[in-house]
């Protein structure tokens, strides 16, 4: 049981992987470290949202993910 970090959309390409596993509990500084400098630089943009356990966080820096939970990094969307 670990925290799964999911990379969506363009972040998936940037990191050259879809998913990163790390040990919980995972907070915001821990996330920035776990994803590596390139993705961390993208997270500086507030338009990149973060969801934890199926909920988008109003304040990303309040992140606390427990083992078994999924964290999703959600860059700006484009559908339709």
């Amino acid at each position: 049981m670990a925290v799964r970090i999911l990379l969506l959309g363009p972040l998936r390409d940037l990191a050259e992987r879809q998913e990163i596993k790390t040990n919980g509990p995972l907070d915001w500084p821990g996330l920035l470290e776990a994803v590596g400098p390139q993705v961390a630089a993208q997270l500086a943009d507030e338009k990149v949202n973060v969801a934890c356990a199926g909920k988008v966080l109003a304040d990303r820096t309040s992140l606390v993910a427990q083992d078994g939970e999924e964290v999703a990094l959600l860059p700006p969307v484009s559908g339709g």
Partner: protein, 137 residues
């Protein structure tokens, strides 16, 4: 179920509505686009679309709303998105479709990239997509 079948079923389900508006978005073949790929984040995307349909129904007094979005890889000419609304008055049905499309374009958990001759390119929302979205705030 094809686009035509979905619209026919939606129409039949809303026999009492005065009007039904719809929009079908398709992959455009221009700009050398060979394919379009749409990805989503399953735990959020469908729930977001359901909330969006409920918001449109309440705001425009719709009798019903149909909101479909494909994911995966699509080729030029293929459908990507289908939206339909049923309402007593046509202006409400139009506004509902307009609202739903603007939110699917730039406020739904979907990511789009296109394959052109030189490879895949991620598509960022256009400035006008964001302006369109602002109209509803």
């Amino acid at each position: 179920m094809s686009v035509g079948e979905a619209l026919a079923a939606f129409n039949a389900a809303h026999g009492e509505a005065g009007g039904i508006a719809s929009f079908l978005g398709k992959v455009r073949p221009d700009g050398g686009v060979r394919a379009l790929e749409l990805t989503h984040y399953e735990p959020l995307t469908l729930r977001g679309m359901e909330e969006l349909a409920e918001a449109a129904s309440a705001r425009f007094a719709l009798d019903g709303a149909l909101v479909w979005h494909r994911i995966g890889t699509m080729r030029p000419g293929e459908p990507i998105v289908l939206v339909a609304t049923a309402a007593r008055h046509r202006r409400n049905a139009f506004a509902g479709v307009d609202f739903l499309m603007d939110h699917l374009k730039s406020a739904t958990w979907l990511w789009k990239r296109e394959r052109r001759v030189d490879g895949w390119h991620w598509i960022a929302p256009r400035p006008e997509d964001l302006t369109d979205l602002e109209r509803w705030k």
